[in-house]
């Protein structure tokens, strides 16, 4: 560990300037719950650490006038959980973010870091994709927006251009009768990595599903948006046969690995099972709004 520099800029422009100038040798520090572990393990040895927690835009949660939310990339899970409104509007996104690690980890870990870490099993990512969240990124060439599902490129990799920093998530306004949910399969009750994760967001009008988004984690090199599953739900009353069709679409989309947490066959089957359970919770929540 030699020659590391630490910067905690107060503005995004400063952060982007320093990050881009370091040309790949820099790492962004939000909650640090992945970065510090990777540094300790020696898997990354950055020349520059850019701490983004002193930048106001990165650390605020804003409910926009149209009823959407803007969440800074450095907002911790604990802070998001304490927001008076967010969990009422997006309970599925909140439960996914709050599943990341222990109480101690929640005090630091961020949805921004979870996405940028690029793990196919990151819990917040399927819920954000199901929610239709958009990210704002800023780099040397300015700002742009992209969908959350366009961010992961593969395990540990993102589609950000060199020098780009994740600034914030924007979640759209919620139509009446909408609900979302996230479930993950782990072999224990707490403190584990998803074998399969499933996020569902849907809207019901008079018992008919009029809009749906489905995303799966830990079943492919990146978190997947499963459009075929959403299509199987839209226009239906979410009856058992409709859920079976959507579950089959989920299983068909899986390209998982075999590892100590689960086999290919197990993950593929569980993806369908979780779709049914998650959709049922999302529908129940939608019926209550």
């Amino acid at each position: 560990m030699t020659d590391i520099r630490y910067l905690a800029p107060r503005t995004l422009d400063e952060a982007v300037g320093a990050f881009a100038a370091a040309a790949g040798a820099a790492r962004i520090l939000a909650g640090g719950t992945d970065l510090l572990v990777q540094m300790k393990a020696g898997t990354v040895s950055p020349g520059l650490i850019v701490d983004i927690k002193k930048i106001a835009e990165m650390t605020t949660i804003e409910e926009t006038a149209d009823g959407g939310f803007c969440i800074g990339a450095a907002v911790s899970g604990a802070v998001l959980g304490e927001h008076p409104r967010f969990g009422k509007v997006w309970p599925g996104v909140l439960e996914a973010v709050n599943l990341i690690g222990s109480t101690q980890v929640q005090g630091r870990a961020t949805a921004g870091g979870n996405l940028c870490n690029g793990s196919p099993a990151g819990d917040s990512v399927p819920a954000m994709i199901a929610a239709g969240a958009i990210v704002t990124v800023q780099g040397p060439k300015g700002r742009r927006q992209m969908s959350v599902e366009a961010v992961p490129a593969g395990p540990g990799r993102t589609n950000f251009a060199p020098g780009e920093i994740l600034v914030a998530f924007t979640l759209p306004p919620r139509p009446k009768g909408s609900g979302d949910a996230y479930l993950r399969m782990i072999p224990r009750t707490e403190m584990d990595i998803a074998v399969v994760g499933c996020g569902v967001s849907l809207t019901l009008e008079k018992g008919i599903c009029t809009a749906a988004r489905v995303a799966l984690g830990a079943v492919a090199p990146t978190v997947l948006l499963v459009e075929a599953a959403a299509k199987a739900l839209v226009g239906t009353k979410l009856d058992a046969a409709d859920l079976d069709t959507a579950a089959a679409a989920c299983s068909a989309s899986c390209r998982p690995i075999d590892d100590k947490r689960g086999t290919i066959a197990y993950r593929t089957k569980v993806a369908g099972v979780l779709l049914k359970r998650t959709a049922a919770i999302a529908a129940d929540r939608a019926g209550k709004v």
Partner: protein
């Protein structure tokens, strides 16, 4: 490489220290500051033996750079008792023998105190989930959970 100069507050006292950019808060607490109550179990945020609070929020000091303490308030196990007067959780852990080897105890106490500040009437399930990031390799969890519940009940009684 120039060292970083950090000004912070630890257990209510203003503190200044020098550190390397890669030093964790735990490195500095246990090293130059001599506050060895916080333990290093795993160094990767899994065991909670290094638990401290940062502006009142429970965190693992091994997952925080020392430089990040600049301008913030840190509280450690050393700040839990008031002089000779133990915190009710410390007293109850002793009375109910809620410790065996003791390595996890500082982290358990700091985490439990943070829980009771946040929730004065936790259920057993809430205690167990809150403390899921604090590992006890002697596996004495049951006595720890009971001591936290008992302390919470006594503190509520005393507050009435």
């Amino acid at each position: 490489m120039a060292k970083l100069h950090v000004t912070t507050t630890i257990n209510g006292d203003p503190v200044e220290f020098l550190c390397e950019p890669h030093h964790t808060m735990l490195d500095v607490l246990r090293g130059s500051l001599g506050l060895t109550g916080s333990k290093e179990g795993c160094g990767s945020g899994d065991c909670g033996a290094c638990s401290v609070t940062l502006d009142g929020r429970l965190v693992c000091s091994c997952l925080m750079l020392a430089a990040e303490a600049e301008g913030h308030q840190i509280r450690t196990i050393e700040g839990m008792a008031e002089g000779e007067m133990l915190h009710p959780l410390q007293q109850k852990f002793l009375e109910m023998a809620a410790l065996q080897c003791g390595i996890c105890t500082p982290g358990m106490l700091v985490a439990a105190k943070a829980l009771l500040e946040h929730n004065q009437e936790p259920t057993e399930t809430e205690v167990r989930y809150w403390l899921a990031g604090n590992l006890c390799r002697c596996t004495g969890y049951d006595k720890i959970v009971r001591a936290v519940l008992e302390t919470a009940a006594e503190m509520r009684g005393a507050a009435r």
